[in-house]
Symmetry: C4
Subunit: 258 residues, 4 copies
């Protein structure tokens, strides 16, 4: 990988003006949980893997003892109907780190989406309210006013304005608009500090209605529990972590250690 990004296309497919759906890690992991669930339920297939020098400089040790780089992944789903657009998903371990890299990553994602003639993006995320929410609302934001009405019809709230959307969920809309792409951000109300499957479910329900795709959420609670368990395991592993961190330089010495 010699450049800022490396996109490895794993399958040659033609897509029917796919809608890009983003679920990178963010507040409450709402978007990540939601989009990864949709990918599973629709049995979406892997399209491409993206690596970047802007991702954390580390590998993950997988169950089978092999390692993999930090990555983002594109998945696709073919509707099978001419009248219904295909879907293109972007999920992954991480967003960019620095402000610049956020912009660059999102532009790269949009470059790939445009290669498949996508002209529409949905970004999914959490809307932090700082307390537990029993019945999470779904808040929205759009690139063009014409997109508002159908969203309101399925219950998306637009009462929260004046704030900002940080990271990919916001930039994919803002940068997409500069490329004449339309975009919708759907944010599930969530605590903010806690992984929130309930909020993810609310977002899935809305996007399912909008896209007219039936997404079963029976497995979601189970998966959320597995997620929690997995995360606890990570926190425990953290201490004995296989990290190989950089040391401060040491002195030149008469010994062989430099």
């Amino acid at each position: 990988m010699m450049e800022e990004f490396e996109v490895v296309i794993e399958k040659e497919v033609k897509l029917n003006k796919p809608i890009l759906i983003e679920g990178l890690p963010g507040l409450g992991l709402v978007g990540k949980i939601a989009v990864e669930h949709i990918v599973k339920e629709l049995k979406a297939e892997k399209l491409a893997t993206m690596y970047s020098v802007y991702f954390p400089p580390q590998v993950v040790i997988q169950e089978d003892g092999t390692v993999r780089l930090m990555k983002n992944e594109f998945y696709y789903w073919k509707s099978g109907k001419k009248s219904q657009r295909d879907l293109l998903f972007i999920i992954g371990d991480t967003q960019g780190s620095s402000p610049e890299s956020h912009y660059k990553l999102c532009n790269k994602i949009l470059d790939v989406a445009e290669m498949y003639n996508s002209d529409m993006v949905y970004t999914l995320g959490g809307f932090g309210v700082g307390h537990m929410v029993k019945k999470p609302k779904v808040f929205g934001a759009v690139t063009h006013k014409t997109l508002l009405r159908p969203l309101k019809q399925v219950g998306v709230s637009f009462e929260k304005t004046g704030g900002g959307i940080i990271g990919a969920a916001g930039l994919l809309l803002g940068l997409g608009k500069l490329r004449d792409m339309k975009g919708v951000c759907l944010m599930g109300e969530t605590h903010g500090q806690i992984i929130d499957a309930r909020s993810a479910k609310a977002v899935i329900d809305v996007i399912g209605k909008i896209l007219k795709v039936d997404i079963d959420t029976k497995e979601l609670d189970k998966r959320a529990k597995e997620t929690e368990k997995a995360l606890k395991r990570v926190q425990k592993l953290e201490k004995q972590r296989m990290s190989v961190e950089s040391f401060p330089m040491e002195s030149e010495s008469p010994s062989y250690i430099r």
Copy 2:
């Protein structure tokens, strides 16, 4: 947007050696309030919008539910008289973030100004004194000594030397001088921690006299109050902010969460 900056020219105009006037956010928002007020009062028109990977990686949700990227904007005003130079304004949400980006942003602004044959820049800002000021003075700094006399005649004080001017208000002068542009910085005395319309008024009065442009400030107080209200609303919203922040990577796990 593939480059560091993207300048979208929205209107083709020819300008008569326009004077560039900068009012980006800074101390007490004095420059921002002043220049945005002048733009309103003169009914200056939008010329171009500038986006940058150096701006915060986020979008703002506007009143109507649509989002927009962080931006800087150029406005222009035609004097209508051959004998009076036109004006070119640069205002916006933000300055650069890193030291380098401050330099790069200012050079980009000067590039655009030079496209319109501008050879003179006024930067407006606040001069922080750490306490409330009833009758704010206006302090000045210039690129060339020949600029001093007319400024002193309209009451600009040059008693404060030995300090620095950080950001666009300073760099546009310093970098402009390298391009043979002349420049003046006008700084209204201000508390520093508080948004200060009174200081903005002092600066507007001075620049109005210098440029021989009549700028009504009746609306300024009203607008400053609206500004205060708007900012309080933001502070309240801040907590329930629609932020989608980047999470640390999680572990590979038997579940679908990666």
Copy 3:
């Protein structure tokens, strides 16, 4: 040095599909101690020196009063047998600093390795457990499952999965895999905060068996003690360090100090 990296090749040699072995500074200095010991024992020869703008901006004052830049070094060892692959070592003062520079440094190391037709990399490091370990295990991670069996046969443990490997020890595997290189990471169980020759010995024993190279470790304890002494000396010197740090700018003044 005008570029990001400068590689000074010090000797022209042809190598027989060498195996790259990395021992840059990391947890407990396990990898660094181990690989530098192997280099000494095998009387490996210097191949190249690498400098980088991503290394700390300083020089070291050596015993003889001369200075040298921070560096990484390539050493090589010729097996002398057609049936046995040569070895290529990368050791040095430091890894990259920023996330990006970690990626860039590792790609540069792999570029050099590929110049010599290397298609296999071993990275050596420490596996921090937060307490002293009497009989350190060696944990492993690989790029391809086919690499597991021979490692298990020499006692490498693969019980620790789900964690990450930060820095060169991980990235050389991950980035190497993208280039169709195979890779193995060997991590000696170690405290994490303490320089650990015992853990280095465990790793040396394993890699000696794998590579079928006999590496004497009699000198290791002695060297480890020298290392400790040298490091204490550094810590003492630290206070009276010959550092020439950057000052904040001062004011323009009537004196000659600017």
Copy 4:
């Protein structure tokens, strides 16, 4: 200024294999005080000014009300004798900020020095010991052993090894050596936290002997006092500083303030 550095050559001169002498800000300002004093005493002339995006993003307001960018400056002194080499000085407000920029700045300085056929550099700095020193020693470090003897003859101490030299004073030697330039670093023993004219004097005495140039230091104490006064004035000004810092973005609002 569109690039990382802009060097404005102010005078066309030919120099006789000049020796580069560096006195950028560092520990105790020893190097800066020493070299700026030498420049004054020898009546060295301005050769070039260097600006950089890696310098702090600000201008200084000078006594006469005009501003100037942060800068480094090259001065030259012609010995007037064929047998004695000319001198080339680099002084200024600041060194680079990030690790990378330290490397880049030093390479740029060496580029300029090489334009004038310089093949030798002296860097001057402070050697921090953490306490006041009555009779400051001068410690040295060199690029080549052959440089040691003449330095020892004029009393330079080489007892302190094993440490590092951070910033330009070190990198100019290390990077210079890569270009086949010879280099000497002279460090006056100093407290470290206090501006130290006495240590500067010790360094001046040594370099005067080495270069066989007579440098009067009568004015040094006076100047050091002025420096102290000037710095106190700055500290006082700091509070009411004409800084125009970047604000966090505010919300879109019904008012004209964005």
